[in-house]
Each structure stands twice: as C-alpha cells, then as structure tokens.
Amino acid sequence: MALEQTLTRLQDSSLPTQIRESVWLFPTIETVHVFALVLVVGTIMTVDLRLLGLAGKERPFSQVASEMLPWTWVAFSVAALAGLLMFSSKALVYYADIPFRLKMLCLVLAGINMLLFHLLGTRHLAAWDRGRPPWHAKFAGGASLLLWTAIVAAGRWVGFTT
C-alpha cells in the first residue's frame, strides 16, 4: 500500500499533472522517447549482430562496441528520462499494466545480460576480438537481440492497454 501512496503522490504532483492534462505534452515526450529508443535499439543490435557473426565480421568486436556504445548510453539516458516523465503522468495505471511490468522485467534482464557479458564474457576478448566470438558471447548477443525485441513489443503493447 505504501507504494500505491507514493505513486498517487507522484502523479498528483505538479509536472505529472501538467503532462496528463496537456494536449501536446504527452505526445511530445513520447516522440522524444521513441526517437531515443530507436537509437538505443539500433546501436545495441549492431553490437549484438557482430557478436552473432551476422554483421561487421571484418571489424574487431572492440571497435564496433566502442564506436556504438557511447551513443547507446546517451540515447538510453534520454529515453529513460522521457519514459519516467510518461510514467509519472499515469503512475498507477502503468504500475498495474501487465505489458508495462513485462517491459520493465525485460529491461532488467537485458541489464543483467549486459553486465555479465562485460564482467565475464570479455575476459579473453583478445583471443576472439578479430574472429568468431565463443558460444557464450554469441549467447549474450542473441539474448540481447531477443530481449530488446521484447522490450519494443511490450512497449508498443503498453500503448494499447493504458
């Protein structure tokens, strides 16, 4: 119950109320969210496809990753901020929404997958940087590809259920 009180207080505060009541604020924030998430997904999938050996095979993995991932973080920050603003405008509705919960779950899983890959999966990077990634790196790339597809699908689904 404490959480529901916090969410009620959040959506009743000034900015969330403004977003909810304005005709153009929500679509504008949503546009920023979509624009940023498109770049998040595009840059992450470029790295995933390299891990799977489906794109950029002639370039070292570390080169693809270091050129793409800084942009991923910039875009992710923008998407997350815009997402938080949208969430705050109807916090109780989103909190109760199943697709929204699925999306958050997939985001957490994608984060764990990324963390594990960076902590453990890249320990012997020098051995495969220019060649074929080992099975665990392919697995991380495949999991990331599927999770981000699920995040987009769940995100789109949220739009039809809230």
């Binding site: 546009t31 979509v34 997904v41 050129e67 699908a153 789109r156 689904w157 739009g159």
Partner: protein, 161 residues
C-alpha cells in the same frame, strides 16, 4: 476520391481480417519500429561522419558501403509493414496530412542516401576533394539527421492528428 478508396479498402476481407486480430497492429508496429531502429542508426552513422562529428577506424567509403544493404533492406521491410498498417486502418494514414509529410520525408531521405551512396562508390574521396564538397557533405549530413528525426516524429504524430 481518397475517402472513397479508404472506405472501400477498409471493407475488403483482408482489412477486416487484420482489424479483427487485435494483436496484428502492435506486432506489425514492433517490426516497423525495429526496422526504423536499424535504418536510422545506419543513416546516422554515415551522416555523423559526413558532418565530421565522428572519426571512426574505417574510411567513409567503407562505412557507406557496409551500411547500404542494411539501409535498403530495412526500407523494404518498412514499406511492407507500412502497407499492412495502411490496409488495416486506411483512413488513419491516407487522410492524414502528417502521414503525407512523412512520406515526402521518406522520399527525400531515400534520394539523399542514393546520392551519397552512388557518389561515394564512384569515388571514395568524392566528399573531401574540395572545400565546396566538404561543405556539401556537412550540409547533406545535417539534413539527413533532421529528416530522420522528422520521420520518427511524424510517425508518432499520425496517431494524434
């Protein structure tokens, strides 16, 4: 004319079938968005290089050549999924001025990409040969970035106008 066409299309059995499956639109939109993600990333990687914002390990010509198949494949998928969405809800798209602006922006972006790709393929140094060319490259890159953002913006606003 267009209204009558929308009316007819929305009553065809294929449109009715798409409308009655409530998972159809979100599924097709998901494929549409993922294709946009790959297209826009490919376009921005080349555009940022044209502008001079990034310096990568590989030259512009190699970058452009690598992005070309991705650009046209995703554009085809976007066209196909876009047609499916239009068949499902013809009036939502065809009678909407934002949709028309979006289509014009898509055509403009395709023309720019074709120009950059063909010139770069014929001469890898095309965009750095003179001061004018360097300025042109910068301008074209900036325009492509703006048009790309415009396409995404228009795409989202079709739902609100």
């Amino acid at each position: 004319m267009v209204e009558q066409f929308c009316d007819w299309l929305s009553r065809t059995s294929i449109s009715v079938a798409f409308q009655s499956a409530n998972w159809f639109v979100p599924l097709v939109q998901t494929i549409h968005i993922i294709s946009i993600a790959i297209l826009l990333t490919s376009v921005y990687v080349v555009s940022f290089r044209l502008i001079g914002l990034t310096r990568g390990a590989q030259p512009l010509a190699a970058l452009t050549a690598r992005s070309t198949p991705w650009v046209w494949t995703t554009l085809c998928v976007l066209l196909a999924t876009g047609i499916l969405l239009t068949i499902t809800e013809p009036a939502r798209e065809l009678l909407n001025w934002v949709f028309r602006v979006k289509m014009l922006l898509v055509l403009a972006l395709a023309a720019i990409l074709l120009l950059v790709q063909t010139r770069t393929r014929r001469n890898p140094d095309y965009w750095s040969l003179s001061r004018t060319r360097r300025l042109a490259a910068r301008a074209i890159g900036i325009v492509a970035v703006i048009i790309g953002a415009g396409i995404v913006t228009a795409g989202r606003w079709i739902a609100y106008v």
